[in-house]
């Protein structure tokens, strides 16, 4: 079933919408959640929460593409779950490594006293990514959005692991420069 028809089902308040969403996007959303939570049971709960959020948000939203829409919901719910449990840096998955990488670059330059709004930071990151070449941006998002491992990215992109690490390192440096340049740190 195409995305538009599924969205129409949500707007018609048909429960078949959730059934079709689970069938089409269940595996994809579980992958996102498992990458973050490293726990299949928790990931299952987050995916179910995603369907609930989708149900509550359509209407009023009418996304043209459901994969990014649902992916964002799943990612946010998965991260929030860890934050609520104060366990973002714990666990055996990729997330602690991802956070360490970001911290390594940022903690040196960030003014921890300054409270930066999420929206302000989001716009700065969008501007940063907009200025990157496609490979750099893809690798950055696969690591820090999809929380994929360095090895997985290397295999899927046909790059060596050291090349992926170097690309990420350079992009993090650019990110720090961008945030400093915009007075956000």
């Amino acid at each position: 079933m195409d995305d538009k028809t599924i969205v129409d089902l949500y707007w018609a308040r048909s429960e078949k919408a959730i059934e079709e969403t689970e069938r089409k996007f269940g595996s994809y959303c579980r992958t996102i959640s498992r990458n973050i939570l490293a726990d299949a049971e928790d990931a299952e709960e987050c995916v179910n929460d995603t369907w609930m959020k989708a149900w509550n948000s359509m209407p009023t939203n009418r996304p043209s593409r459901l994969a990014p829409y649902l992916g964002k919901l799943t990612r946010w719910l998965s991260l929030s779950r860890l934050r609520e449990n104060n366990s973002l840096r714990r666990g055996g998955g990729e997330l602690p490594l991802v956070l360490d990488e970001l911290a390594e670059t940022l903690d040196s330059g960030f003014d921890t006293e300054r409270e930066v709004e999420n929206r302000e930071l989001n716009l700065a990151l969008r501007r940063l990514l907009d200025g990157l070449d496609k490979d750099e941006r893809d690798v950055f998002l696969c690591r820090y959005w999809y929380v994929a491992s360095i090895k997985e990215i290397a295999v899927k992109f046909g790059f060596s692991e050291s090349k992926v690490k170097t690309m990420l390192h350079r992009t993090r440096k650019k990110m720090l420069a961008q945030l400093k340049g915009e007075g956000l740190c």
Binding site: R23, K24, F25, G26, S27, Y28, T31, I32, S64, R65, A67, P68, Y69, G71, K72, R75, W76, L79, R83, L88, V98, L99, D100, E101, L102, A103, L106, D107, F110, T112, V116, N118, L121, N122, L125, R126, L129, D133, K134, D135, R137, D138, L141, C142, Y144, W145, Y146, A148, E152, I153, K156, F157, G158, F159, M175, C185
Partner: protein, 300 residues
């Protein structure tokens, strides 16, 4: 909240198109995409089993993945979509309408000229570019397309083993060279004298930032080889030159062009037929550009 965590949360609402690219490159498929892939894998597995059976008992006929010209057309278009998803070729590439020709090519052991390569039974599916600035050679009745191709579909695996992809430039594109036929270039155009123009629109076929290494690594993955070794070859010598990391790291679009010095790259894929090379070539024809790769080249 710690700073790195702020970044992680602030990243959540990124551009949909960027996220979709990332998803495609990671291969995180939705169910519709997955079922298409699964069908292909099941088919490949079934064919492998059929092949084993055939090798063990030659009385059994080998079943094929592609058993008709219609199936070859369908599979060729499916594989083009796979290449787009891999990032090997541009997402805009499409071949409109029915193919102009689908030719069946029997299995054949190549001569020494072909390095003894075994050419599998295949179908050659062709969508012609249509009339171009190519003298009087192109039939004018053909449909004019932005993209044209010859795709050689292996009937056993259902993969494209050789490809020629053509792209004409956008209207008004700036030519990068020209050749004058039938007269002095400095004299006015006449019925006999024609000037043909060359273009450089390879980024219509593959991403402008594509390197030789990435292209061949992706191709190796697509064909199921574990890697590749590159040897650049110049037509005049037919000799293998030392592998050059400089070439591998270069942008594919910067590769020397065919029709200027007959240059192409010879590639040996790990796990391919021993000693039988493949090749990679860019060519500028009057009015269009062409990328070709795979087997079947006169030299390698």
């Amino acid at each position: 909240m710690l700073n790195s965590e702020k970044i992680l949360f602030a990243l959540n609402d990124m551009d949909d198109a960027w996220l979709e690219r990332g998803r495609a490159r990671l291969g995180y498929r939705t169910e519709g995409e997955r079922s298409r892939l699964t069908k292909r894998r099941v088919l490949t597995f079934a064919l492998a089993a059929a092949l084993v059976l055939a090798l063990g008992a030659s009385a059994y006929a080998v079943k094929t993945a592609v058993a008709s010209p219609e199936a070859a057309q369908k599979v060729a278009l499916q594989e083009i979509e796979v290449w787009k998803e891999m990032g090997l070729i541009m997402p805009d590439i499409s071949f409109e309408g029915d193919p102009n020709a689908i030719m069946e090519i029997e299995e054949k052991k190549g001569s020494d000229y072909w390095y003894g390569r075994l050419f599998n039974h295949s179908y050659d599916v062709r969508w012609y570019l249509g009339p171009v600035d190519w003298g009087d050679q192109t039939p004018t009745e053909l449909v004019q397309r932005k993209y044209g191709c010859n795709l050689r579909v292996d009937t056993l695996t259902g993969k494209i083993t050789q490809a020629w992809i053509d792209a004409r430039p956008e209207e008004g594109a700036e030519p990068v060279g020209s050749v004058t036929l039938g007269g002095d270039p400095d004299q006015p155009e006449t019925a006999e004298k024609r000037t043909l123009f060359f273009y450089d629109n390879f980024d219509d076929i593959f991403p402008a930032d594509m390197t030789v290494d990435r292209f061949l690594t992706l191709l190796a993955g697509y064909w199921g080889f574990s890697g590749y070794r590159l040897a650049d070859t110049v037509d005049e010598t037919y000799e293998e030159a030392p592998w050059s990391p400089v070439v591998a790291d270069s942008l594919l679009k910067d590769m020397p062009r065919g029709n200027t010095d007959n240059y192409y790259l010879t590639v040996f894929f790990d796990g391919d037929q021993e000693g039988a090379p493949m090749y990679l070539q860019l060519t500028q024809f009057p009015g269009y550009v062409q990328l070709n790769f795979g087997t079947g080249h006169g030299v390698g």
